[in-house]
């Protein structure tokens, strides 16, 4: 178990050092995946759906704010649909605008959730997202998640109607519009998935914010169970066609991923809880303090301090001299580097001795 915490600290340290680059790479990858999925999900316009165009748009939008990326994705979708039918493009545009005015404008900065929802719906694995966003984001992400699912079903309905009727015929435009509107409004799969995702996400968030021990872990486990039960019962009761094996497998994967994210974000030691009581002028406090688990990094144990003899010795790495011997892999004590430098300077002024003493030092005096 300490190994896991050690790995956690190392990963967090590495991420903190290079977070700018990691975030940029993640945004570029996400942008490329998003536009490729749009191209594959619709694919009406060959120019817009081209691999290179998608990759270029994804790479460029990574440098723009997330709201602009969302706007660009919506514009690309409408352009793609407009290539075959202006009435369908108008329908898609109207639905997107209504979603924005009624719902999405209340969640500024969360539009990436809507984009993730649409992408994962296209891949057929929306079961991961409610648990993941319930652990990380909370109820403010519910609206964005619902918008993403509705946006996906808008495009799914448009593609389904287009392939089953002659949407490019202008004489049939109104009939096509009516077919799309009917299919969209009466799509019970969409309502069911939206409701289940909202329930699971809210439940995970609710459990995560309770005050009992292991609430985060309980939230992940309950999220998995509730997700499986709700999706399976909707398949049976509402006659919805969903792959049962995918529901179970990806719900479990969603639980594992959300647990890992929770672990990386916060690791608590429930065995060392302290319950304290105190008062001030206004209130009497009952406080439960749960310590965070923190692992200190490995430190070098100095076993040899050698005097500096540049004429005699051939150093490949100057730092080796300052840090001590290469055998310092057994790590127990912390040595301040300033102390080492001061000790080395003192040793330079002293008469040179061929052998050094093997020392282990305790915490340096300040």
């Amino acid at each position: 178990m300490p190994v896991l915490f050690d790995i956690r600290e190392r990963l967090r340290t590495v991420y903190q050092r290079f977070s700018t680059y990691f975030d940029l790479i993640a945004r570029i990858v996400f942008g490329i995946v998003l536009f490729r999925v749009i191209g594959k999900a619709i694919g009406f316009d060959a120019k817009v759906s081209q691999k290179t165009v998608c990759m270029l748009m994804g790479a460029v939008s990574a440098f723009l704010p997330m709201a602009v990326m969302t706007l660009l994705a919506a514009a690309v979708v409408m352009l793609d649909v407009y290539a075959v039918s202006s009435i369908l493009a108008m329908f898609v545009g109207l639905v997107f605008l209504i979603l924005y005015f009624l719902l999405l404008r209340y969640t500024p900065g969360k539009s990436y959730i809507a984009l993730c929802a649409a992408v994962f719906m296209h891949w057929g694995i929306p079961y991961i997202l409610p648990m993941l966003f319930g652990i990380t984001v909370g109820p403010s992400g519910i609206v964005a998640l619902a918008c993403g699912i509705i946006a996906y079903y808008t495009l799914h309905t448009v593609k389904m109607v287009y392939t089953s009727s002659d949407a490019s015929n202008p004489d049939e435009a109104l009939q096509v519009y009516k077919n799309v509107a009917n299919s969209f409004v009466k799509n019970k799969d969409m309502y069911m998935i939206v409701v289940i995702c909202i329930v699971v996400m809210f439940m995970v968030y609710f459990l995560r914010t309770r005050k009992f021990n292991y609430c985060g872990e309980a939230a992940c486990a309950c999220g998995v169970l509730v997700s499986i039960v709700l999706f399976l019962s909707s398949c049976v009761l509402m006659d919805v066609e969903l792959d049962i094996s995918k529901i179970i497998i990806y719900s479990v994967i969603g639980g594992i991923v959300s647990y890992i994210v929770r672990f990386m974000k916060l690791a608590l030691d429930y065995s060392a809880i302290e319950n304290v009581q105190f008062e001030d002028d206004d209130y009497y406090y009952y406080v439960k303090a749960v310590p965070k688990i923190k692992m200190t990094g490995k430190v070098n144990r100095v076993k040899k301090i050698t005097s500096k003899e540049p004429e005699d010795q051939d150093y490949e790495d100057e730092e080796t001299e300052d840090a001590g011997d290469e055998e310092n892999d057994a790590q127990e004590h912390h040595i301040d580097s300033e102390v080492i430098m001061s000790m080395l300077k003192e040793s330079e002024t002293m008469p040179q001795t061929p052998d050094s003493e093997e020392t282990t030092e305790d915490k340096p005096e300040e």
Binding site: L94, L97, I98, Y106
Partner: protein
């Protein structure tokens, strides 16, 4: 000579200003004014969304509307349209007011820390000025 604690304080202030520009903008309003501003924005956006929904429903029922343009009971139709609009407006405005109030409360907690640090910085400058006046 550089005062380390002053630099630390100013750095924290600058980091907050960079990452929470919304909070700084929000600090200009009282809570009631901010909620009222949110309410006005809500009314405009719900009205725009409702008009778009009307366009979509109108397009869907275009044939029926054209066929019954002369004989239609415009009064009852108008009453129904207005009724649905009012229901939608009330629901979304209540939700919007709640969201605005919550947003203001969360931002205000962060702003209190920011104002506390600003006061500390002001106190530092006042102390420095007093010290310079005393030396003179």
């Amino acid at each position: 000579m550089v005062n380390k604690s002053k630099v630390k304080l100013m750095t924290k202030l600058a980091i907050y200003e960079k990452n929470h520009q919304d909070d700084i903008r929000l600090s200009r309003y009282y809570k009631s004014d901010y909620v009222r501003l949110g309410l006005i924005k809500n009314v405009l956006s719900v009205t725009a969304a409702y008009l778009l929904i009307l366009v979509m429903v109108g397009l869907y029922n275009m044939e029926w509307l054209i066929a019954n343009a002369v004989t239609m009971d415009y009064k009852s139709l108008g009453t129904r349209i207005l009724g649905y609009y009012l229901i939608l407006l009330i629901v979304f405005c209540l939700a919007g007011m709640f969201v605005s109030a919550l947003h203001y409360s969360h931002s205000f907690k962060r702003l209190q820390k920011y104002f506390k640090r600003l006061k500390m910085l002001k106190k530092y400058y006042d102390d420095t000025e007093n010290k310079n006046n005393a030396d003179e």
